[in-house]
Amino acid sequence: MLFRRYAIFGAVAALAIAGCSTASSNGDSAGGSGGSNKTIAFVQGVQGDEFYITMGCGIDAKAKELGYTVQTQGPQKFDPTLQKPIVDSVVASNPAALLVAPTDVQAMQAPLEQAAKAGIKVVLVDTTVNDPSFAVAEISSDNVGGGKAAFDAIKQAKPDGGKVLVISTDPGVSTVDARVKGFEEAANADPSFDYLGVQYSHNDPATAARLVTSALQKNPGIVGIFATNLFAAEGSATGVRQQGSVTANVCPDFVMW
């Protein structure tokens, strides 16, 4: 599955580069030095997250193929107050294109609009903002569908139904909110399943593990947990193992992708 994402983002990179090349030939290029700006910037949602690293690999590979260099940056936490200064500086560094995973649908709206206004081709990857009209492209999976697929996977493993729980990261992140929504709708529509709601792990595996252990303590009947991203999934799996439960199935996001 990772491979598929790799391919997708390679394609995104190609798209961004193509976009900027066109612009360059028109003479109103984002690159300060005519059509020779061969730099694209990639701003992750958070540093050191495998998801974004994988994405970066795809971007790098495709960029190299087309003779571009990629500058990768990311905030220490998945936090718009930390990501905004980075985006501002990236804009100042004047890349041909900016691939960015916004950390908040509202807070990153204005900074990214300004980037677009500065003549940089903005591509939203994975997450999005309230009004992405300024972006030349937006790539994300069908997150609502993904949530539903996760529920279907649990249903397949546990056809008799039971209690299900969602471990998400933080509210306000477009992708995971959509996954939760998809899962929630599917779970509520099925009377044999009891939807216990969402817990927020703040994108921290240790917190996710604690949440899961406590939840299993309270509700030993949990048959499935949907973890909405990688860190949530790692933590949830740890929690399930700690609790010694063999009945619960963790369904992390990379399974459904």
């Binding site: 050191g48 998945f78 930390l82 500086s89 509202q106 509210p171 703040h202």
Partner: protein, 361 residues
Amino acid sequence: MSQSTMQTDVTVEIGQETLAGRLRSMQSIWILGVLIVIVAIFGVLEPTRFLAYNNLMNIAQNASIWAVIAVGMTYVIITSGIDLSVGSVLVFSSVISAKVMEMMGDKGWPTVAVGTLLALVSGGLWGVLNGWLVAKAKVPALIVTLGTLSIALGAAQIITSGLDIRSAPVVLQDSVGYGRVAGVPVISLIALFVVILGGIGLHMTRFGRYTFAIGSNELAARRVGIGVDRKLIEIYALCGLLAGFAGQLSLAQYGTTTIAGQSLTNLNVIAAVVIGGTSIFGGQGSMLGSMVGLFIPAVLLSGFVITGVSPFWQTVAVGAILIAAVFVDQQRRAAAARGGRAAVKARRAAAPASPGVAEYK
């Protein structure tokens, strides 16, 4: 003692005053030098991009919210206290403000004024709670504010069910968050105003004097009749109040309550204040230093991004500068203490009969 001796004595003192003044302000000066060097290096590496007016203004804009918090934090740390709760208090205050502004429906300036007032009040109340627990209940500040860090954030999440309120008045966002006056971000002008007021209060008023006195020797402050408990509550209240104000500014800048954000605000602000030469042992610090300390990480971040240095190195560099700043400060102070006494001895030895030492009769 003859009249002429007294005259000479006074002259000697005046001569040393400027020297002592220079010695004392050296940490801010030294750290300002570091900042200038950093700016110069990036300026040479990326003259057109890094030194672009717009980039410098962006750096200022991004440091503005932290600057407001750093003002209060400087006071708190000078009392040898600490306030870890500022990020959560910021979020809580912005939630209260956003909630009420949303309920008022109207998106004009009166609504913004009410929201600002509420943000100040709710921040101030958290500060009073912190101060009361530190001063009266005698719970260590680290523990108190670690507790309120959790409680304030939890309370914000309870009020909003964990969902950010994203309906900050457009007028607030457009004019305060992203507006510019004469090319300077409005939010930075507001922060500058707060910083100047805070600096005057710290360095020129009795309130500031007592802040230093409490941090320098709390018992001595009590013995001369300073109401130390009350002062501590006021200082933590000020810090909370400014965190609340920062909450309103954050609403202006991000248009959302950033419940999941502000996670490193407290540590970043504390690091800035300490880099700027404010001693965590209390009694020493300056507002100018805190501001320079705030801009070093901000400039590094921008410079590293523009020059394309891996983000991991930024974290390393800021941490190293924090330690280096405190280390150099310690060395410098130790040297000043030694040199100071050595210099006095040297003067005595060199001029045993001078009027300046005539008092040792």
